[in-house]
């Protein structure tokens, strides 16, 4: 039986390396410095790049983090500090359930309440969609990180006569800061790979733009678009863009892993 279960583990591990291997091989074929700093060009012109997608993704991830992180972190603070009663249980349960919401649904909702009334696709709507995706994840990771802070610390703060909110913000949250930050990084890694919430919120744009009230390109949308095109050149661009995206996301994940491992060793 050990052999059989070990074989399962081997299959899982191999599938990751198989996929990564193809991405590396496919991506390196057409990855160059110019690819990173140029806008896309028509299919018969060489030298097109994905600068618009990289910049667009970064802008919308930043926007999403602006909405998602503060709200998520403060909600997490509430859940850990005041959420041990029935009300907190219900909130925690709903938020946990929301982490599994299909990302395409978030896209449709933001389209209905934002894009449709405004009448145009915009990077802002894309950022809002990504922010909504982040909130439940950040809230729950923040809560768990804060729970790791020993009670003696809170008691020490309160015993010194500090009000609860100062102890929470100044002592508890600060002690848990690195944990909260790693949670935030994981959430960012998660939204960085999202395509579905951007399909009909930010749409895409063929050139580099920083206007938040216009459609905006993203790496993920470009991968989807190029992969679906009939041109070999664009398929190569999709692979190269994928390499950039996956390097970013796996990089974040590995950094988080290293950071959390160090913390465990110290503790």
């Amino acid at each position: 039986m050990t052999v059989l279960t070990a074989a399962c583990a081997a299959v899982a591990v191999l599938s990751l390396f198989l996929i990564l291997g193809y991405i590396l091989a496919g991506g390196l074929r057409s990855l160059s410095f110019g690819f990173l700093i140029h806008d896309p060009k028509p299919v018969d012109e060489p030298g097109g790049g994905i600068a618009n997608g990289i910049v667009g993704s970064l802008i919308m991830i930043a926007l999403g983090s602006m909405f998602g992180l503060p709200i998520g972190i403060l909600a997490g603070v509430f859940l850990s500090e005041f959420g041990s009663n029935k009300f907190g249980q219900v909130l925690r349960f709903l938020i946990d359930t929301l982490t599994g919401t299909p990302s395409i649904v978030i896209g449709v909702v933001v389209w209905t309440v934002m894009v449709h009334p405004m009448g145009y696709f915009s990077a802002l709507a894309g950022g809002v969609a990504l922010g909504i995706m982040m909130m439940p994840i950040v809230a729950r990771t923040t809560e768990e990180m804060i729970r790791l802070v020993p009670h003696s610390l809170r008691e020490a703060g309160l015993a010194l006569g500090a009000p609860r909110w100062r102890v929470t913000l100044g002592v508890v949250l600060r002690t848990a800061a690195s944990g909260v930050a790693t949670g935030a990084m994981l959430a960012i890694a998660r939204i960085a790979g999202e395509t579905a919430p951007l399909l009909f919120t930010a749409l895409s744009l063929n050139y580099l733009s920083t206007n938040l009230l216009q459609p905006m390109a993203s790496l993920t949308f470009q991968i989807y678009y190029y992969a679906g095109s009939p041109y070999e050149v664009w398929h190569d661009m999709a692979w190269a863009a994928t390499l950039v995206l996956v390097a970013m996301i796996l990089g974040l994940n590995i950094i988080v892993k290293i950071l959390t491992r160090n913390r465990h060793q110290q503790g």
Binding site: L74, T97, P102, I104, G107, V108, T112, T175, I223, G267
Partner: protein, 340 residues
């Protein structure tokens, strides 16, 4: 390190060592005041507001989509779920082929992913030494970090050609007499979607099952072994104890598979039909929304797509709720799998 921190906060109210990460407790001491504390209720209220806001997203999503799909439900009623004609030109919309495609591709994914994930989880918790299980678990979690669109790209350019040229023809030679594996195939279709989905849901099922198995107390294992059970029998007993949690993990995987969009859209072939052959192209709820939303021109078409979104949300929400209840019963809401 943590006890050290607590000690510093109590013992050194004077000059604070800049190397101490948390000097605030000491600073707070000097600013102590006897004023009535408005800060605390205010703080609780403000953070609570955000928590309620996030939890309230569930209601917000449902209400806004219900309003956005009002016309479709008024016009088609229940037949929206039961009819299989999806014709934007004639304005006829029935979601049955999408529901079929979603359910069929997700079940296929589970069929492959569940045994595999259980195998990995059993290996990690019951068999492998900690030194080996930690890195393997990390690698499996990295599978969850790979974006959906990347799975789609890999599926279209690597997996589909492989299936088309070597796997499916062999499968057809052996099982072609059954309707499930009959007919023409081009590598893109229901089975291919199920395969790619199975890789995508493997991490979450594995991670949650691992948490659940780890939550089974060691005394269970020791007791079975002491009673003369073999190692394998002891594992079976652990699995029986973790049954509800494992069901939760599987249902969680089902929820992910149902809502998965990009990879499926790219590989399932996108044809709204209910066909016996697993090789045939199909369509899911999520992929029809992804494909048609920006191209829909009539109001009723748009509203029908929003209606699909609403159905998808309600179904996944119920599924996730059920899964959480089952998993929480075992792990008490803790564990790393919760947020994969």
């Amino acid at each position: 390190m943590e006890s050290n921190l607590a000690g510093a906060a109590v013992e050194s109210p004077g000059p604070v060592n800049p190397n101490q990460p948390s000097p605030s407790a000491a600073r707070v001491l000097r600013k102590r005041s006897a004023r009535p504390r408005l800060g605390d209720p205010l703080f609780k209220g403000a953070t609570g507001l955000f928590a309620v806001m996030i939890a309230g997203l569930a209601a917000f999503i449902m209400v806004s989509m219900a309003i956005g799909s009002r016309l479709a439900f008024e016009k088609f009623g229940l037949s929206f779920l039961l009819k299989s004609i999806w014709d934007p030109v004639k304005g006829e919309f029935g979601a049955l082929p999408f529901i079929y495609g979603t359910v069929a591709s997700s079940l296929l994914a589970l069929l492959i992913a569940v045994p595999l994930s259980l195998g990995v989880a059993i290996f990690l918790v019951e068999k492998a030494p900690r030194k080996l299980s930690e890195p393997i678990l990390f690698v499996v979690q990295l599978l969850a970090a790979i974006p959906s669109v990347v799975y789609g790209l890999w599926g279209v350019f690597v997996l589909a050609p492989l299936l088309r040229e070597s796997v499916y023809p062999k499968l057809q030679a052996i099982l072609g007499f059954t309707p499930l594996f009959s007919g023409h195939q081009n590598g893109l279709g229901l089975l291919s979607a199920g395969l790619i989905l199975s890789i995508m849901v493997l991490p979450i099922i594995t991670a949650v099952t691992t948490d659940v198995l780890r939550a089974v107390p060691n005394t269970q294992r020791e007791a079975s072994l002491a009673l003369g059970a073999t190692k394998w029998e002891a594992t079976v007993i652990v699995l029986q104890n973790a049954k509800s949690g494992i069901s939760g993990a599987i249902i969680l995987g089902l929820g992910r598979a149902i809502g998965e969009t990009m990879a499926v859209t790219m590989i399932i072939g996108n044809r709204p039909q209910i066909s016996a052959s697993l090789f045939d192209p199909s369509y899911t709820i999520a992929s029809s929304i992804a494909n048609e939303f920006t191209e829909a021109t009539s109001e009723i078409h748009l509203q029908s797509l929003v209606a699909l979104g609403l159905i998808l949300f309600i179904v996944t929400f119920i599924i996730n709720m059920l899964a959480r209840l089952l998993v929480w019963g075992v792990t008490r809401g803790e564990g790393r799998g919760a947020h994969v």
